[in-house]
Symmetry: C2
Subunit: 337 residues, 2 copies
DNA sequence: CGCGGTCATGTAACCGGTTACATGAAACCG
DNA sequence: CGGTTTCATGTAACCGGTTACATGACCGCG
């Protein structure tokens, strides 16, 4: 491998000049710069990132924190792939790479410092945290350690941290307004777990939108689910068993919504004629499962892009973290309403 | 940050001894080893990976090559998430981290050397290549550059490379045998693109299984699709338009299979009574879309685990790459047959 | 003409580890 | 008891960059 010294020797300058060509090209005379660049490609010189990191303490890598919670083995993020694509693309424009942090350090998953250690060992410039549906103390340790980080769908904030979410309350309002327009007056909801940020916000937004529409909300029409298929199924059965069952249901997640539609179907009810359903997320399946799920779509790629931008802003300016982003949502109308 | 020299000074030994404690503990006396280890946690010493990499030329990182082809923006891997989880877990056991290689280097996506350069710059120990559904010359450049790598669902092999796939032919045979048992004698197929490895293998396996069962195959009963929903839909329409249309169809991918079922439904045919459908992959939706898709399930996590093991074997032994792995498939029976 | 100021470049220390080789003490052995 | 091994540890060069500071050429100006 060609090193900087060899490139320097061959082009008759000092290593400092070569280094400058790649880091602060403007201080090098046009002539030598070009000569060095040409020679660099000729001999295939590539700067060694480790050496660079060692000297500067910046690695141009950001950690990806995405532990699959061992207590929920089946958990899958509804659109991890879109997020990763957008994230990686946006980061790479600024020369940043993504390092997936392994859960196993030497220590087990209960070691709160495992992410912080990984960040320090690799001199990571920052971290992106993808919600796995449960609170993880190791994530909070990152905040305490002043690591620049941005979280997705997780409300972690601090002097070096910010987060990006969808406009969950606004999305819920979209759903409610849509149902109201369709003539529904008795609207129930299958909420998400209230300890999760999206779960809580969607319920809050739902309540507010109903109030704004001047509609009452029976406490019995609010059921808390778990974001899973079976949870939605069970919740819907409880709703349907009510005497004054709602004519429409806002379900805080598509997977639950599909479970709910199945429950309705099993109960001999037709969607949307007997009961209308609106979901949240717009996962792939939503379009495929008959009669098509009307749902509040999130800006999936937006998560990645926004996260990258927030992180880059922090790293670049070294300033305070940008305030949290709430990505706009849109209503996708399909057959279920 | 505590450095090795500080730790050495404080524990009254030389840096070499400290280094040995972490790399070749067996050559250090029990007593000093323990003393150093204790002091290390006390002062929060963490070895600096960049320095280590610089000295050893091994980074303990492997590159993840997973470019989303710009010519197919909508492409999503059917089970990327499961693969990543398994991969990361299996690698981390051996102290390896995953670095997602950005497509943007400084150069565009047509630069064939972009992965090779990333590998060199970061001293990556190897690479895992996830098929994105199209041939990428930059991947072949990795092979040429003798980078240890293992590919998923892509037939790249060489002195430093191997690959892991499902037993595609065997899976196709499972499907055929199942249909034969159900009494079908006129079986057609919607194949995948023949330039992809899984696409080609599944068709080969299908043909072989039919032959083995002594059933004829009309050339008109073989339609090549593109692994997408709409492609499956279109292919099915062509099949249904035939005079002697098959009574059962083996579809080489679940997404296409769902499109195919929809086409059947639109044509007024009932699945499975009028036409049976078997898919391949077992994606999430397969269970959700009525009447439930019978399909050949791949060992999703197995991809990640097998890839990690193959790579580790190469890195550890420094030997020839292990021969390609073909993961076993299983038939999941649902309502479509 | 001499002086201060740019500008392009060079010198050398430093980042934090690893490791070949050297050293010295203790153990073994005939 | 002297010589050879073995074992634990130390010394110092090296990995490939960055960068504070020094240097010297050149320029404009009073």
């Amino acid at each position: 491998m060609a090193t900087i010294r060899e490139l320097a020797r061959r082009s008759g300058v000092s290593v400092a000049t070569v280094s400058r060509v790649f880091n602060t090209p403007e201080v090098v005379s046009q002539l030598t710069r070009q000569r060095i660049l040409d020679l660099a490609v000729e001999i295939g010189y590539l700067p060694n990132e480790s050496a660079r990191t060692l000297a500067t303490k910046k690695s141009n890598m950001v950690g990806l924190v995405w532990d699959t919670d061992h207590r929920r083995p089946g958990w899958r993020h509804p659109f991890l792939q879109e997020i990763l694509v957008a994230l990686k693309t946006a980061l790479s424009v600024h020369g940043l790479n993504l390092l997936m942090l392994a859960s196993h350090d030497t220590a087990g998953p209960d070691d709160e410092q495992r992410y912080v250690r990984a960040v320090r060992r690799h001199n990571l410039d920052g971290a992106v945290i993808i919600d796995n549906g449960s609170r993880d103390p190791a994530v909070l340790a990152l905040v305490d350690a002043q690591v620049p980080c941005v979280a997705l769908d997780l409300r972690v904030a601090g002097p070096t941290c910010t987060y990006v979410t969808s406009d969950n309350a606004g999305g819920a309002a979209l759903a409610v307004r849509h149902l109201v327009e369709r003539g529904h007056r008795r609207i129930g909801t299958i909420a998400g777990p209230q300890q999760t940020w999206p779960g809580a916000e969607r319920l809050t937004g739902f309540r507010a939108a109903l109030a704004e529409a001047g509609l009452p909300l029976d406490d019995g029409h609010v059921i808390e689910g778990d974001f899973y298929l079976d949870g939605g199924h069970a919740a819907m059965r409880r709703l349907l068993a009510l005497d004054d069952r709602p004519t429409a249901v806002f379900v805080a997640g598509d997977e639950m919504a599909i479970g709910a539609m199945r429950a309705a179907h099993e109960a001999g009810l037709r969607v949307p004629d007997d009961i209308a359903v609106v979901g949240f997320d717009d996962i792939d399946v939503a379009a495929l499962v008959p009669p098509g799920l009307t749902t509040v779509a999130q800006d999936k790629a937006g998560f990645g892009t926004a996260a990258a931008e927030a992180l880059i802003a922090m790293l670049h300016d070294g300033e305070d973290p940008p305030s949290p982003t709430a990505l706009p949502t849109t209503l996708v109308m399909r057959g279920s309403t």
